[in-house]
Symmetry: C2
Subunit: 376 residues, 2 copies
Amino acid sequence: MYTLIEQDGCAKSGELKTVHGTIQTPVFMNVGTVAAIKGAVSTVDLNKIGTQVQLSNTYHLHVRPGDQLIKKMGGLHRFMVWDKPILTDSGGFQVFSLAKLRTIKEEGVYFNSHIDGRKIFMGPEESMQIQSNLASTIAMAFDECPPHPADRAYIQTSVDRTTRWLVRCKNEMDRLNSLSDTINKKQMLFGINQGGTYADIRIEHAKVISDMDLDGYAIGGLAVGESHEDMYHIIEETTPYLPLNKPVYLMGVGTPANILEAVERGVDFFDCVYPSRNGRHGHAYTNHGKMNLLNAKYELDDRPIEEGCACLACQTYSRAYIRHLLKAKEMLGMRLLVLHNLYFYNNMMEEIREAIRSKQYKQYKKQKLEGFLRGE
Amino acid sequence: MYTLIEQDGCAKSGELKTVHGTIQTPVFMNVGTVAAIKGAVSTVDLNKIGTQVQLSNTYHLHVRPGDQLIKKMGGLHRFMVWDKPILTDSGGFQVFSLAKLRTIKEEGVYFNSHIDGRKIFMGPEESMQIQSNLASTIAMAFDECPPHPADRAYIQTSVDRTTRWLVRCKNEMDRLNSLSDTINKKQMLFGINQGGTYADIRIEHAKVISDMDLDGYAIGGLAVGESHEDMYHIIEETTPYLPLNKPVYLMGVGTPANILEAVERGVDFFDCVYPSRNGRHGHAYTNHGKMNLLNAKYELDDRPIEEGCACLACQTYSRAYIRHLLKAKEMLGMRLLVLHNLYFYNNMMEEIREAIRSKQYKQYKKQKLEGFLRGE
């Protein structure tokens, strides 16, 4: 149940009540692909950073350790020891980006596992069943995520099929939520808007899925190679046709600047691998832009990554030490940077919520973006 | 300054007062080779586990990031943010095991760096200078660590040279500790007993170095391929000839059982890579022996690694989850096992101290060894 708390221009801030607690939005969902944040970060760490939501990948967990195993272990929350909300994706994106030899049919997708090559079929019903086994707080609808660029005719065909799949997802989720051995009988379902960079297809699709009264709506199929301007334009065109009294989730986005722009256009859920992936590669997000800790200029730098940052890395260790760890390929260096980056993202979302709720979002965003560009 | 607190048979428990605090013995020193514990474990974690001493490797730090850099950063304590004692080895062991194309001369050892192949010379004075730059609490004498097996004539020649090197180490350490720009002017020096598996050479050498009134004495050159029986025999023969009022350190040893046996023979300092290395490979030390978490039987095992263990891993996560992390090659799995293993080792040392101080060591050791053999 989503409640809109404040709007500042098109930016919105709300709260989503779930069976695993309330999520304040805008929110960043921390990506734990296989039920763990990459970079040796645990759910104990996530709690300390003050994160609200964790996101796991259905396709990965289905392949290993298997959703049946996780169901036997009491669901994903119990398995990874996390009592706050978890969103699972549908598996669709990974099927379209990772799996080999795939064939799309009306019933779903046939493909080979990227781990052991075994043949798998996944359609809307299978995706819902797997996510029900995982017992996440929020399940995502099974959609087709077409490549970019794709021609108009293909996108239209694909979006129409995605709509038919969405109806099947909703029916299957309703059925699963009514079964006695389902772990989370209040599992929510978010629909996904598609349409590539064709604004009119996006809008038409947004209208159709909005009528289905789902728990939330995502904008999918962006950040797949189009320009930032195209992405912002599509968000801007689409959000007015998604319900204001439902959360809007921009899938797989993005940089801090991307998030600031998307919030201004009405998005309130985000997820992205950048903080953990870039952390593992030696990059730190700061209010003065992204730093490459491998740079020789940090060799003797006694300062924390960011002065005033409350994360474990900044509260304890110097740039020089973290740089040394990265150069020596010590896991600890990656862990410290991932902790910092996750703190940075989650803390920025808190600032964003405060800015919207005090009607100062435009000014906040301007200052923040200027800081990113200014550098140290 | 070492004070013997209690003896139970040959087992001894004491305390070593250092400029970085007091060490209660017997103690396990946690190996942070390049100023970090492998497995993404930080000094913050070490403090939480309740560890007393950290050990770093002089050779590794000399090669990268360089002891001059660490001196500029205020020494190893400040660099890695650890205010308790640190022991540094002499670099000798790594020179003899890792470096390429080495030549041993009276003045020291010429060798090529294992990182970039550059030519390095290290003798007693250089080792002391590097360790003084690192500003560790305890420096180890520069010795030759001969391979096993080695013939008697070679061992005798080598031990004699090690004795001459020890005199040079002591003189150089005294000089360095008197310099105004030395960070730790109270750096301690431990001498190292050598002699391979020749008890008479070991004893003769122990007598000679004991006369030098050093801050502590190590037994080196064991756990290099000889049998456990040979190792225990040599310890037993040697410790009576080392001063009772000085700490005795058995270098690079070992399994929990090795430690229990060596404590009984009068050893009070230990270090070993097993807890972190085996943790990274999926092995957990428990009171019921070593577990391989990769074993399929743990797939659905909801229990902690060890019931009643107070470490972060056991307090929070199941065997099934940790096994999944290891299978998925998630760093978090390694971190959790390393945290558990370090806790196990450090906690066992605390039990050992209590057992000696209450004169129940024999009984404690017997029960502990029986538990290891019993299994779950």
